[in-house]
C-alpha cells in the first residue's frame, strides 16, 4: 500500500500531504454539522431562515455562501420549509462545485452523476430555473431520489436521464454540446467519513484502479460533450490523489482542456503535483483540496477545466 498506510488505517497515507495532520484526524472523528441549502427558486434566504426559526430550528448563515445555512436539528426535512421545497438538506461543502461551475440562466448544463440531486438542483436554482439542466445517473435506484428532490424543489429545468455517462449521447436534445458540465464522480468517499464512519470499509488499491479508470472515462466524455470555451467542473469527496489529481493529469493528456484558476472563498490547499513516486502536470495545483479541519466540513476535491480554445 502506498506511503506505508495500512488497511486498518487508510487515512494515514495522507500524512505527507495534509498541512496539519493532527487537526485533520481530529476533525474526521467529529460528527458533521448539519446544513441546508436555500432553494432560491421558491424562497429567499431570509424567508427560509424565518420559516425555520418559526419551527424552532436554530440557524446560522455560512459566511462564504448566502444560500447555505447551518441548522441545529438533525431532521431539517421535518419542517414546513422543507415541505414547501424552500430548503434542501445538503452538506455545506457539497454546495461548492455548483458555485464553481457557475451555470447561467438559459444555458445547457450536464450533471453526469447527479443522484440524489443536491448539486443538480442547486445548478437549476443558480440558472434561475431557466434553460436545460440534464441530470443523469446510471443507477436507476438512486434516480428516484433525484426525481423526488427535483419535484419537491419545484424545478422545471431538469431533464432526468438514466444512462452510462462514459458514452453519453446528446441525441434527445435540441443542442449538440453543453455549455457546462459537472462531474461529481463516484469515488471512495473518504471525505464523507464524518457522516458515514463506514466509508472506508471497502477501501483497497484494487478498488482505486477500478474507480479512477471510471472517473477518467466520465470526465473525458464531459470534456468532449462541452462546447469550446465551456466549463467542466470535476469534484469528489475523497482525499486520494489517484482519484483526483491523477484523473486530471490523464484527462489533460487525452482531451483539449486546461485547468482554470479557482476563486474559492473557503480555506483550502492546492492540488498535489507529486504522489507515490508519480509526478503530475504542474497545473493540477490549481485544483482545491478542502480538508475537514479547514472549515469544519466534510472533505472535498474540486477542479475547474476550460474546454478547447
Amino acid at each position: 500500500m502506498p506511503n506505508g498506510a495500512s488497511m486498518d488505517d487508510p487515512l494515514s497515507r495522507y500524512r505527507p500531504i495534509v498541512d496539519d495532520y493532527g487537526a485533520f484526524r481530529a476533525a474526521c472523528e467529529r460528527p458533521l454539522p448539519k446544513a441546508v441549502r436555500v432553494n432560491t427558486v421558491k424562497a429567499t434566504p431570509d424567508e427560509a431562515v424565518a420559516a425555520l426559526e418559526d419551527d424552532g430550528v436554530g440557524v446560522e448563515r455560512a459566511d462564504w455562501c448566502d444560500t447555505v445555512l447551518r441548522t441545529d436539528t438533525d431532521r431539517p426535512g421535518n419542517t414546513w420549509a422543507a415541505v414547501h421545497g424552500w430548503i434542501h438538506g445538503q452538506e455545506e461543502v457539497s454546495a461548492v462545485p455548483a458555485r464553481v461551475l457557475d451555470p447561467q440562466p438559459g444555458e445547457a448544463v450536464w450533471d453526469a452523476c447527479a443522484a440524489p440531486g443536491g448539486k443538480a438542483t442547486q445548478c437549476s436554482a443558480l440558472m434561475d430555473d431557466r434553460g436545460t439542466l440534464v441530470a443523469n445517473d446510471s443507477n436507476l435506484g438512486r434516480l428516484s431520489g433525484l426525481r423526488f428532490n427535483a419535484e419537491r424543489l419545484g424545478l422545471t429545468s431538469p431533464v432526468v436521464t438514466n444512462r452510462d455517462a462514459r458514452n453519453y449521447s446528446l441525441k434527445p436534445f435540441a443542442f449538440d454540446a453543453f455549455d457546462r458540465a459537472l462531474v461529481d464522480a463516484p469515488c471512495s468517499c473518504e471525505g464523507t467519513i464524518r457522516k458515514n464512519p463506514d466509508a472506508l470499509a471497502e477501501w483497497g488499491e484494487g478498488y482505486l484502479d477500478e474507480i479512477s479508470t471510471l472517473q477518467t472515462d466520465i470526465l473525458r466524455r464531459a470534456v468532449q460533450a462541452t462546447r469550446d470555451g465551456g466549463t467542466v467542473v470535476y469534484s469528489t469527496c475523497t482525499f486520494a490523489p489517484e482519484e483526483n489529481e491523477a484523473v486530471l493529469d490523464a484527462v489533460l493528456d487525452a482531451e483539449d482542456c486546461r485547468l482554470a484558476p479557482l476563486d474559492l472563498p473557503l480555506t483550502h490547499a492546492p492540488g498535489v503535483t507529486e504522489w507515490d513516486g508519480q509526478r503530475f502536470d504542474d497545473s493540477v495545483a490549481r485544483a482545491a483540496r478542502i480538508y475537514p479541519h479547514h472549515n469544519d466540513t466534510g472533505g472535498f476535491f474540486v477542479a475547474k477545466l476550460e474546454v478547447g480554445a
Partner: protein, 170 residues
C-alpha cells in the same frame, strides 16, 4: 410534430391550439393554460417561457429548456403539471406548490393546526362557500400565503391529495 396517437414511452409537445391538433384527445397548450387561468386565476403569461409536453395517458409536463419533439429516452422533462384526459383535470402538488402563489381564486387558507392535518393526509371539514372540486390549499408561513398542495372539496369535506411520500407529521 407529434404522431396522431399517444405513445406512452415518449414526450410529445402539446399542440398550440385546436387547429394544430392531430390527436383529438390530447390537450392543447391553450386549453391547459386557460384551465389554470379559469380555475385559479393564474395568468397564462406565467408560463410564457415554458413548453408543455404529454407522456403517457394524460400526464402533462412543464419544461423550461430545449428538447426535440418527440423526446425519447428520458425519464423526466421538467415537472409534472396537470392530469388531463379525465372529466376533472387535476393540477399536481408540485405545480401548485410552485405556481399556486399566483392564484386569485379557489384557494382555501387553513390555520396552522388544520394545515398540519392536511399535510398528514387527513380529511377536513373547513368553512368554504366556493366551488367544489380541486382547490389550492394554503397557509401562512414567513409572512406570506404559501400553497401546501391540492385538496378535493365535495359535500362539505376537503380531502387531502398530498402524495403519500410527501405527507408529514409536523
Amino acid at each position: 410534430m407529434s404522431d396522431a396517437g399517444n405513445d406512452g414511452s415518449q414526450f410529445d409537445r402539446l399542440p398550440a391550439t385546436d387547429a394544430e391538433r392531430t390527436d383529438p384527445e390530447r390537450a392543447t397548450r391553450a386549453e391547459a393554460l386557460d384551465w389554470w387561468d379559469e380555475r385559479f386565476g393564474v395568468p397564462p403569461e406565467t408560463f410564457a417561457d415554458h413548453t408543455l409536453w404529454e407522456k403517457g395517458a394524460g400526464k402533462v409536463w412543464l419544461f423550461a429548456g430545449e428538447a426535440t419533439d418527440p423526446t425519447e429516452g428520458v425519464e423526466g422533462l421538467g415537472m409534472t403539471f396537470l392530469r388531463t384526459r379525465q372529466e376533472h383535470w387535476k393540477p399536481t402538488t408540485d405545480a401548485v406548490q410552485r405556481f399556486g402563489r399566483h392564484a386569485t381564486r379557489n384557494v382555501i387558507e387553513l390555520d396552522d393546526a388544520a394545515a398540519r392535518r392536511f399535510l398528514a393526509g387527513e380529511e377536513l371539514e373547513p368553512e368554504w362557500d366556493g366551488d367544489w372540486g380541486y382547490l389550492i390549499v394554503a397557509h401562512q408561513i414567513a409572512g406570506r400565503t404559501e400553497p401546501i398542495g391540492v385538496g378535493l372539496y365535495t359535500y362539505d369535506t376537503l380531502k387531502s391529495t398530498v402524495p403519500k411520500g410527501r405527507r408529514r407529521e409536523l
